[in-house]
């Protein structure tokens, strides 16, 4: 039960939520008033019954006209109250959906502006969960728990007030007898919460077991281990069923407890009422009415305990959402941006350091050594139009250096200058038109090739797109596709081969017509023909532009004007391929490894 409060208490969380989504608070007071009026429909019956019994149905002297009169008032009250309740429910629902819509859009915007460091693979799932799952929890809360809080809460307040007005002593006794119910229900609820957590864990366990069994089906079959894993999966299914049955068993006691307490409370009310009776000025009608009111008062209590659970879930979800909104956004825009000079641009890395920042929110505990420095004191000048290859082992920092040049993150120390202007002072839209990154595994959106190309420039006409394809000498490739530019690429471009996705990314980059290209070379397999096309397209695309290639193949480095060799975040060598091979340093060792491997293979022949 003792749930850690995290960085904000529940009250803070709710306060901050209202500030983030002001639509929630607007008109809330009126909604509550309407809900109270709506509760009138539920108390009209006991009051009417009391009035009718005392004034119209008195023993031996039934006055139908009085009852008709009362009934007419009753119908009118029910009609008005029903309308009020309808309005209150609609207001709460519509306001909350509008507020959550606003919150979602704020999240989209904020998450897109987060630094790329906050967007690594393992975090993407968590960020998606914030926008879908957590906001969904809130939506469910407003639709059920929040609504119940509003309707049942106002009903209890109104009923309690009417009970006190009839007879304060009877009312107080009723409240006192019912009080232990609240405590008991909390107890049951606590057990229920623990059982629920266990059941959720068992559920996850079963699903992951099934996914193993399915994902590893070939291995399991090849090794005759299928039966063993099917039995293990069946066991997880049994454990899951057991734990959910336990949840159901505990939950089964919530409402019956309420019923038993209703009976006890009503008995107490009747005993006291009959005992004190007319001496306290009570009437038969008032007694009957009071019994009805007591039932009404206790009706929502069991539901309330479920609402408390939902409220806790919603607050936890909101806290996670606020955690994302509280994460500072990626490289901030300069308040007074400078324009980049037109024409070719040079790149200057001045004493650049970089370390990935520690995480800001709840997931922080999982990342262990995040602020390991990745780059130290990297300085290099890349003149406009030069083709540079960054070389180094995995983890040497070459990908990060590429990201800094593209300002997907800012250096922790030092500066990156583009055309003589510090990147921190370049307007985002200006930078994105002049510098383009082609990532290692280019991402394509589900849609047509034209959609994906137009992502670079939504105003580009189909003709312009076709010209761009032609300009990179890819006309024959496009012609070979089933529907040309209108070919569907599938989710993440899955209908195309890895090489074709790279081709699309190159065309997409060319449409921007940037002065600087940052290319993260692919390592994935590409068929021979596509390899040739890629080489040609790349050559055409880089012509006349400053290009920085993060090279995974020495053959790429050998073709570049200049090679920068990184080792553990330091720039250890800088020069032309030939010179570096002659110099006998780290690059030469890589080259030697290649040569000796080749020789080794040769001597065996």
């Amino acid at each position: 039960m003792s749930e850690p409060l995290g960085r904000w208490s529940a009250v803070d969380t709710i306060g901050r939520s209202v500030r983030e989504a002001p639509a929630l608070r607007r008109g809330f007071g009126l909604t509550v008033l309407l809900a109270m009026a709506g509760a009138g429909a539920r108390i009209v019956l006991p009051i009417l019954l009391q009035q009718a019994i005392d004034r119209g149905l008195r023993h031996g002297r039934v006055r139908v006209d009085v009852v008709v009169h009362l009934a007419l008032i009753g119908v009118a009250v029910v009609a008005v109250a029903t309308l009020a309740q309808r309005t209150a429910v609609a207001r709460l629902g519509i306001r909350s959906e509008q507020a959550l819509f606003g919150l979602r859009v704020r999240l989209f915007e904020h998450i897109h502006r987060l630094s790329i460091a906050d967007h690594n693979d393992e975090r993407t799932g968590a960020l998606v969960a914030r926008v879908t799952g957590d906001v969904e929890t809130l939506s469910q809360f407003f639709a059920w728990g929040g609504l119940a809080l509003l309707l049942d809460g106002t009903l209890m307040v109104v009923v309690a007030a009417v009970m006190l007005a009839y007879d304060w002593l009877l009312a107080v006794v009723a409240f006192l007898v019912a009080a232990p119910l609240a405590i008991l229900l909390r107890r049951v609820q606590a057990h229920l919460l623990t059982a629920n957590d266990a059941a959720r864990a068992r559920n996850a366990e079963m699903l992951s077991q099934i996914s193993e069994l399915v994902g590893g089906s070939e291995t399991l079959r090849a090794y005759g281990a299928s039966r063993h894993y099917a039995d293990a999966t069946a066991a997880t299914a049994r454990r899951r069923a057991d734990s959910f049955i336990r949840v159901g068993t505990i939950g089964a006691f919530l409402f019956p407890l309420g019923e038993v307490f209703s009976a006890l409370t009503v008995s107490a009310v009747i005993t006291l009422g009959v005992w004190l009776g007319p001496d306290r000025g009570l009437t038969a009608g008032a007694m009957v009415g009071f019994v009805f009111l007591t039932y009404r008062f206790l009706e929502p209590i069991a539901e309330f305990t479920e609402v408390i659970d939902q409220t806790q879930t919603a607050v936890a979800g909101m806290r996670r959402v606020l955690g994302v909104l509280g994460t500072p956004i990626g490289p901030p825009e300069s308040a007074d941006p400078q324009r980049l000079p037109s024409g070719p641009l040079d790149v200057y890395l001045a004493n650049v350091d970089f370390a990935y920042p520690r995480r800001h929110d709840a997931e922080a505990e999982r990342g262990a050594s995040d602020d390991e420095p990745v780059l130290h004191q990297v300085t290099a000048h890349i003149p406009a139009g030069q083709q540079v290859a960054l070389v180094g082992e995995t983890g040497s920092g070459k990908t990060t250096l590429g990201r800094l040049v593209a300002r997907l993150a800012d250096p922790t120390r030092g500066q990156v200058l583009l055309g003589g202007v510090p990147l921190t002072e370049v307007a985002n839209h200006d930078l994105r038109r002049r510098l383009v990154v082609v990532p290692q595994e280019p991402f394509l959106f589900d849609g047509t090739i034209a959609d994906n190309l137009a992502f670079a420039d939504p105003s580009a006409t189909p003709q312009r797109l076709a010209e761009a394809v032609e300009a990179l000498d890819l006309g024959d490739w496009l012609a070979g596709l089933p529907a040309g530019l209108d070919t569907e690429v599938g989710p993440r471009g899955s209908q195309l081969s890895a090489g074709e996705r790279q081709l699309v990314a190159l065309v997409r980059a060319s449409i921007v017509d940037p002065a600087v290209l940052v290319l993260d070379e692919a390592t994935s397999s590409v068929d021979a023909l596509t390899e040739v096309r890629l080489g040609r397209a790349l050559e055409r695309l880089s012509r006349g532009r400053t290009s920085i290639a993060i090279a995974h193949r020495l053959s790429t480095a050998a073709r570049a004007d200049r090679v920068l060799v990184l080792d553990h975040g330091r720039l250890v060598e800088d020069g032309a391929h030939r010179d570096l091979v002659d110099a006998g340093g780290a690059y030469a060792r890589m080259y030697d490894a290649w040569v000796s491997a080749t020789d080794a293979a040769r001597t065996t022949s």
């Binding site: 029903t82 309808r86 309005t87 993407t124 399915v214 070939e218 089964a252 070389v391 997907l408 060792r589």
Partner: protein
């Protein structure tokens, strides 16, 4: 439970579907379900009884006390005993109903998951290759769960019928006029519930669809955040996602409007009816045909019946989802188990692996293997070499008996023929469990296999062989995973070991050590290894060179280099970039090998 207000022609077929669903679900679980229905019936009877008790409270206790001033203590105690007694029995009925409804639903669910998983295990590899993992997981998990959701409200709903019948009978017997008036309202309320459910479901279904779409779009957008940011499209993406979120909001608001209206009506109509009942009651009381207590008990019963009436709507709303889930589960269970491809493997008398005219084709595609003939004598180590798409992996999968040839014959020796897959699959579990895969194997044998596979690094893991690996375990490099997968095969002492580029992610020195171990320790074992590294190929006794699905050459590496120009070109192209890659990217460059081999494939003999 056919729709009583609109007896259309479609109703019977829906009803038949529903009956078939329930029959199928409840087969073998009748007792649990009947217990739940029994509990629900007790609850239903007690509900009507409690209304009768309200009448006693009014007529026997309150009215006498407040009109004549006297009431016998015994009467009061007796009536109060009834109040509490009926409440206790009723509560017990609810507990039994809920607990057993839960047990029914979860046991049925568990059974479905087990059968589906068992079917997955029974189906051979070719069947699995035609399915997607996500679909199979969702059928075993979510769909099985959806199929059983209808079982939760079902006992309650069936008791509602009991409740309606008993209370109608009771009201009619107590006072025919009042009873008729009340009973006439039931169909109206049920009809209202059904209309409500149908209208609301339309919006809920739409909202569910939009939520799915939103979730997919958000996932895509956050996955592609590098593209979004590097092309400066943050604002556009936010707007695009906002559009989808807006549709979700609109669907939700539609549901809110329907809901607020109907909820208010479902509350308001019984209340308005009750006031009308008051007038009818007044006439009846004046005529001496009814007592005040009877009137009060009718009121009470009416308020109690409002919620249970909604259960019928809930069941009808759950039914389509359950049917959909059930049908998806049935599709798996009804699909016949396909024959095991391993049955087609012949037994070779002399321990050799033989392939005679082996063809293999995917549906509709060209032949992957186009008549392969080969004989590999027992104890030989053969490297399978060829360009991407030459059919190397297919060849191994055929020999392993995972798939069967379209025509031709394959013979393998007695004993295990084990394949170590290209992508090593590790289950969630310890290193040891990954090696044994549930088979009882002595520690000594596990250790021996680990050492032979050069997987000694396992002993340095935090808990040695007891360290958890797989999805949630320690991170292992591709090379480490490959060596564990190799140990898994070795520990079973197979007669034939098939390695599908298994050592590709190892550095050359480790790879050489692994291969040397294999030769030294397992002299009698036949090894077929897909290889793309000269050093690996050089260690084999023979090379089986595949081109476009046929054996282009079979002989010693040196002989092929000298006599087969295509082979020489392939090896050279492959030495060239492969070595560079190994040097530059270290252990993680496995995939790239295919790219360079692909490049070589352009030149064929």
């Amino acid at each position: 439970m056919a729709d009583p207000t609109t007896p259309t022609r479609r109703a019977p077929s829906k009803l038949r579907q529903a009956v078939r669903l329930l029959r199928g679900l409840l087969a073998g679980h009748r007792r649990l379900f009947l217990t739940a229905v029994g509990g629900a019936s007790v609850y239903a009877i007690c509900t009507v009884l409690s209304a009768f008790v309200v009448r006693l409270v009014t007529d026997r206790v309150i009215t006498p006390r407040f009109t004549t001033g006297h009431v016998a203590v015994g009467t009061v105690l007796g009536v109060l005993g009834l109040v509490i007694g009926v409440a206790l029995v009723r509560a017990a009925g609810v507990v039994v109903r809920r607990v057993w409804a839960g047990r029914t639903a979860w046991r049925v669910n568990e059974g479905l998951t087990r059968s589906v998983v068992q079917r997955y295990v029974d189906q051979p590899v070719p069947w699995h290759r035609r399915q997607t993992a996500g679909d199979l997981i969702s059928r075993a998990g979510l769909d099985a769960e959806a199929a059983t959701t209808v079982l939760n409200p079902l006992p309650f709903a069936s008791s509602v019928i009991v409740m309606l019948v008993i209370s109608s009978a009771w009201m009619l017997v107590t006072d025919a006029v009042l009873g008729l008036f009340a009973v006439a309202l039931f169909p109206i309320l049920i009809g209202l519930n059904l209309v409500y459910q149908r209208r609301a479901d339309r919006y809920y279904d739409a909202a569910q669809d939009e939520l799915g779409r939103l979730s997919a779009a958000v996932h895509e957008s956050f996955d592609g955040v590098t593209v979004v940011k590097s092309l400066g499209a943050e604002q556009r993406e936010t707007e695009r996602l906002g559009l989808i979120a807006g549709r979700l909001r609109d669907a939700r608001m539609g549901a809110v409007r329907v809901r607020s209206t109907f909820e208010a009506l479902l509350d308001g109509i019984p209340n308005a009816a009750n006031t009308a009942l008051l007038v009818v009651g007044a006439y009846r009381v004046r005529a001496g045909a009814a007592t005040v207590g009877e009137l009060a008990s009718f009121f009470y019963l009416f308020t109690l019946l409002v919620f249970p009436l909604r259960l019928i709507g809930f069941v009808l709303s759950d039914l389509p989802h359950s049917l959909a889930g059930w049908n998806r589960v049935r599709e798996v269970l009804d699909a016949p188990v396909q024959p095991d491809p391993a049955r087609t493997l012949g037994r070779s008398p002399d321990g050799a692996v033989r392939l005679h005219g082996v063809h293999y084709r995917h549906e509709g595609a060209r032949d992957v293997l186009d008549g392969v003939d080969a004989e590999i004598p027992a104890g030989r180590t053969v490297a399978v070499v060829g360009a991407t798409g030459a059919g190397k992996t297919t060849l191994l999968h055929l020999v392993a008996g995972l798939i069967e040839p379209s025509s031709g014959r394959i013979e393998v020796p007695a004993g295990d023929t084990l394949l170590v897959f290209q992508e090593p699959f590790l289950t969630v579990g310890t290193v040891r469990e990954n090696v044994t895969l549930g088979r009882p194997i002595a520690d000594r044998d596990v250790d021996e296999a680990v050492v032979t596979a050069c997987a000694e690094f396992c002993y340095d893991l935090p808990n040695g062989l007891a360290t958890m690996v797989g999805e949630r375990g320690v991170g292992l490099s591709g090379g480490q995973r490959q060596r564990i997968a190799l140990a898994r095969a070795l520990v079973r002492r197979p007669a034939v070991l098939l390695l599908d580029d298994t050592t590709s992610a190892l550095d050359p020195a480790t790879e050489a050590a692994v291969l040397a171990n294999l030769r030294r320790q397992l002299g009698s074992m036949t090894v077929l290894a897909v290889a793309s590294r000269p050093s690996t190929i050089a260690l084999a006794d023979d090379v089986l060179y595949l081109v476009d699905g046929v054996v282009a050459a079979h002989g010693r590496h040196e002989a092929l280099l000298a006599g087969v120009p295509g082979y020489r070109t392939l090896i050279e192209a492959f030495e060239h970039d492969r070595a560079a890659l190994d040097a530059a990217a270290g252990e993680d460059a496995g995939e790239a090998a295919e790219a360079t081999v692909g490049a070589g494939a352009e030149v064929r003999p």
